[in-house]
Symmetry: C2
């Protein structure tokens, strides 16, 4: 069993948001009523960027509020979308007169609530554009039917490059285009050795046999279509990389941005061993990891697992990725 | 049971170090033979700073190599000191002619191996000073006998302020004095709800009853003298804070640096709730948290627990803390 370090479960999200804001008093400001965080010093005369979604994926999204990235992050309950009203107020807070890009992970509730908020904010004469992140290759369907691919760790990339473009003074359409281009080219595969446990629960969301790996797991503990045999770090890396390489059609001389993302309780020794395997495997194929992040960026509570995200990197995307950023979870 | 994402356990540390270096090609350089990492661009004409110790505490120490912090970090096996020979080579690598400060967590093996390395490097005409970090209040003895307090999360503070002083051009004696002053004034208390699991093992280092909390746990899974009843986040924060406030004699108007440190699998929602409680409790006592870190900085594999470190902050320490730093795990 797992016990949680929380108070009243119903107060968890507001208390955690308050704690985050108190810990970053020069970066963040809490708007308690609608459970969103803004930059302490609001940006002026730029396209606004708002993101958000269910909690339990920290540091996503509030950890990415700050110069060069988001203006506002709005938080739902654990694994549940914020309401349309919350998103509306967050969108209003993100606007400084040049419109707002809403970065939305592709889940039904999130898409619905951001869309409603976007329509209503149009009545306030706030122009909005939705950028949908749908990088999870495990949820690709052959006919493209159904709700489509889920949004996972590529969200960090989309938030980063949109943030840089907005900071440079790009228009609403330009920022949205950059985000859509990043989302269209980034893909992720995830696996878990054990599921996360909801705050206040004592049992994980699912259990696996001693020899099983959940290949294609979701960040809300969604089960995968496949359970495959457990193997070592190099083998697990190959399980993630195979589908990614087949999909992205990368070849000799290509450069990529890679995220080796810990899903919660994966320790850094493990992530670094996967990062090493990834460098070796791609290197053997003549593909260069020219930028990377290794760490817990888009988590699923304390899930023990790892995801790999790859995005081909052209000059413009690399420039936007390299642009200065100052947020609680990403700074350079 | 917990399975690990590793290859051959005997190759874990070299592979993880290689992965870390590959992920930070502009910051870090791997010296594989003696298992240490240096800055990619060695600093010149400054006091060198070397630290290290057993692995399993990542991002400590290699995550703190870079401008404004360490020059070299040397890694032992999981929870085991690096050898004197490793430390000697790491100390040599850290020297640019103005001597080397060795930052050492107070554990018998580490102290012994750093001391031997310091003595031998004297034969190379490298002057060394050891700064011992011994912040763990749970291991305070009334008569001051025994091995003394263990070194835990205050190591990050000592590495940061010594790094800043060295970067400013302070002498060997001055950098050591800054480090000793930080170490003398910072104290930490830790608790765990469950122990970590060694890479390759399937069972955690110890188990607790459903209602028990290990208060005063060590970062190597050392059991504490006390097991206390489980309670909520505010109550757990009080358990850590009580002894710290009694020891540090903080009062109205004092300012502190605080670290709310995750021990491995504690998720950010939990750490943020503890950070909130800490702000409230200290605020009620008129004590201001003027700087803080909240996150996993000195871990114990995937232990589920949290530590709080407090250090009174004077103008000089705040200036050194605020100085620019650029490392894998700490950048501003």
């Amino acid at each position: 069993m797992r016990r949680s370090i929380i108070n009243d479960p119903d107060e968890l999200i507001p208390q955690a948001l308050e704690g985050l804001a108190l810990s970053h008093p020069t970066l963040l400001e809490l708007h308690a009523e609608h459970r969103f965080l803004t930059r302490k010093e609001p940006a002026r005369n730029k396209v606004g960027l708002v993101s958000g979604g269910g909690s339990g994926h920290e540091p996503l999204h509030a950890g990415f509020v700050g110069t060069g990235m988001l203006d506002v992050a709005v938080a739902g309950a654990v694994f549940a979308s914020p309401t349309a009203l919350q998103v509306l107020e967050a969108t209003r807070a993100a606007d400084s007169g040049r419109g707002v890009v809403q970065i939305v992970k592709n889940y039904t509730g999130d898409v619905l609530n951001f869309r409603i908020a976007g329509e209503i904010s149009g009545d306030d004469a706030i122009e909005t554009e939705i950028v949908l992140v749908d990088d999870d290759l495990a949820t690709e369907t052959e006919d493209g039917g159904g709700p489509g691919r889920r949004g996972t760790a590529a969200t960090v990339i989309v938030e980063k490059v949109c943030g840089a473009a907005a900071e440079e003074g790009a228009t609403l359409a330009e920022v949205a285009e950059i985000g859509r281009r990043a989302a269209a080219s980034a893909r992720t595969m995830s696996l878990a050795l054990s599921a996360g446990t909801h705050p206040g629960d004592e049992e994980p969301q699912f259990t696996l046999g001693d020899d099983e790996v959940e290949l294609g797991v979701g960040i809300h503990g969604e089960r995968a279509a496949q359970r495959v045999p457990f193997t070592d770090a190099d083998g697990l890396t190959d399980l993630l990389l195979g589908p990614l390489l087949a999909e992205l059609e990368l070849g000799h001389g290509d450069m990529v941005l890679a995220i080796v993302n810990g899903l919660g309780s994966t320790y850094p020794l493990e992530l670094n061993v996967v990062a090493r395997a990834l460098h070796h495997r791609l290197g053997e194929a003549g593909i260069e990891i020219s930028r990377s992040l290794v760490g817990p960026y888009v988590t699923s509570l304390d899930m023990h697992g790892v995801s790999i995200t790859l995005m081909p990197l052209d000059d413009e995307m690399r420039r936007l990725w390299d642009a200065p950023v100052r947020t609680p979870a990403l700074t350079w």
